[in-house]
Amino acid sequence: MLSFVLQRIVKGVIVLLAIIVMNFFLIRLAPGDPASVMAGEAGASDQVFVTQLREKFGLDKPLPEQLLIYVKGVLSLDLGFSFRQQMPVSKLIMERLPATLLLTLTAFVISLVLGIFFGTLAARWPGTWADTAITVGALVFYATPLFWIALIAILLFSVQLDWLPSFGYETVGANYSGFAHAIDVGAHLIMPAMTIGLFFMATYTRMTRASMLEVKRLDFIKTARAKGLTQNVIQRRHVLRNALLPVVTLAGLHTGTLIGGAVLTETVFAWPGIGRLMYEALLQRDYNLLLGVFVVCSAMVLIFNLVTDLVYRLVDPRIEFTT
């Protein structure tokens, strides 16, 4: 168990290093050399300043040495400086990280719970109107662009019905505290979380349904039925448990897409997370910040993947800890 966790962590660190190295070369693909890009961002472009920057960031050294400096910097959580925002990149990201974690984790839970619920429902009575309705609904949500659902939700629930706030993390200037604050944040959270949640719910619904129908045909289900267990017990204890495995696999693989979804929804709802930060960096062509967010997103996905790998063990004790 422990050695498995260690092995996975080592593997994760190697992937992270590879991503950092890729990042290093990506920023060199950006137009202009880094020093003049930075000088431009700082708003000064005279030759002395550019040379100073070159020396400060070691850009006058050979490429491998620069790479080493960069990797060391990132590993000590120094992601560079954003001249546009006049703040270190890592500080900007850390400020925004909790909002994104709240949003993505809520969306993740919503999508898994709803997806497994509807998938189970559809697989319980295949071929009925309930199954058809769920299948068609899942297909439609699977094909809908996230940002469009977000806008339609604003149109419907904020503009037309005036039920929910259309943007932000909390009501500006309201200064709620304690429980009232939690309610306020919750009201702001519903739409963005549901937007991401619905798309992934569609995927998990399809997956759960297909996987349950497959398990249902297996022999041990017949045995359970012959033993005289009720349909509900068979469904819950025998079918669902075995059918969840591929769903968990998929959910683990999807964390990267979840982050992509966060970029879009945070942009639409002005949710102050790192997705929104990425969009701001994009608008201002702030490459340092953009790549910083990218590295942090990748690291988050790595951690998430590790966690799902461990959850695996809980869902299916048959799996051995090997890499």
């Binding site: 992937v15 590879a18 991503i19 990506l26 920023i27 693909l29 950006a30 137009p31 297909l139 439609v140 699977y142 094909a143 809908t144 662009p145 996230l146 940002f147 469009w148 806008l151 339609i152 604003i154 149109l155 503009v159 399809r206 997956m207 297909a210 129908l213 497959e214 693989l253 964390t255 990267g256 897409t257 982050i259 992509g260 979804g261 970029v263 879009l264 942009t267 639409v268 990425m278 969009y279 994009l282 608008l283 062509r285 490459y287 953009l290 790549l291 967010v293 990218f294 997103c297 990748s298 996905v301 790595l302 993947n305």
Partner: protein, 168 residues
Amino acid sequence: MRFTEFFQTIPSFALAIVLVAILQPSIYSITASIAIVSWPPVARLVRGEVLSLRTREYVQAAVVTGQTTSWIIWREILPNALSPVIVLASLMVATAILLESSLSFLGLGDPNLISWGYMVGAGRTVIRQAWWITVFPGIAILVSVLGLNLIGEGLNDALNPRLAKEGR
């Protein structure tokens, strides 16, 4: 396959954003970025297919008759491994449309080519006064993606009933 795994770990949409932003938005950079983030599932699928086909008897027969490895791969294995790839391709076009529209929505579209995603993004600022600018391009994306997914499922059932339930 480690390389493929590496690419699958990276958040694909974020990578696409970074690539297009750095290479400057144009139809070429957008196409290239979508391709760069979409290839790993194909590689995995083909690898799996080839691994299962190489143990088939007709492949062993080809080995016995003294064919070269590359001849066997090109003439015996790849044509047989193609049908799931065709299915995946139609699903990937659907995903590519979603990716492109998302990129254009964020303002990373080719400035000389207006796409549906760009229209939704542009209509966003006037959504209270002119909702139709946002609503209809979105429906267009929805219908095309849904159509392509259905084609994919149909092809899947037709070409390999064996894999019919697996989807992607």
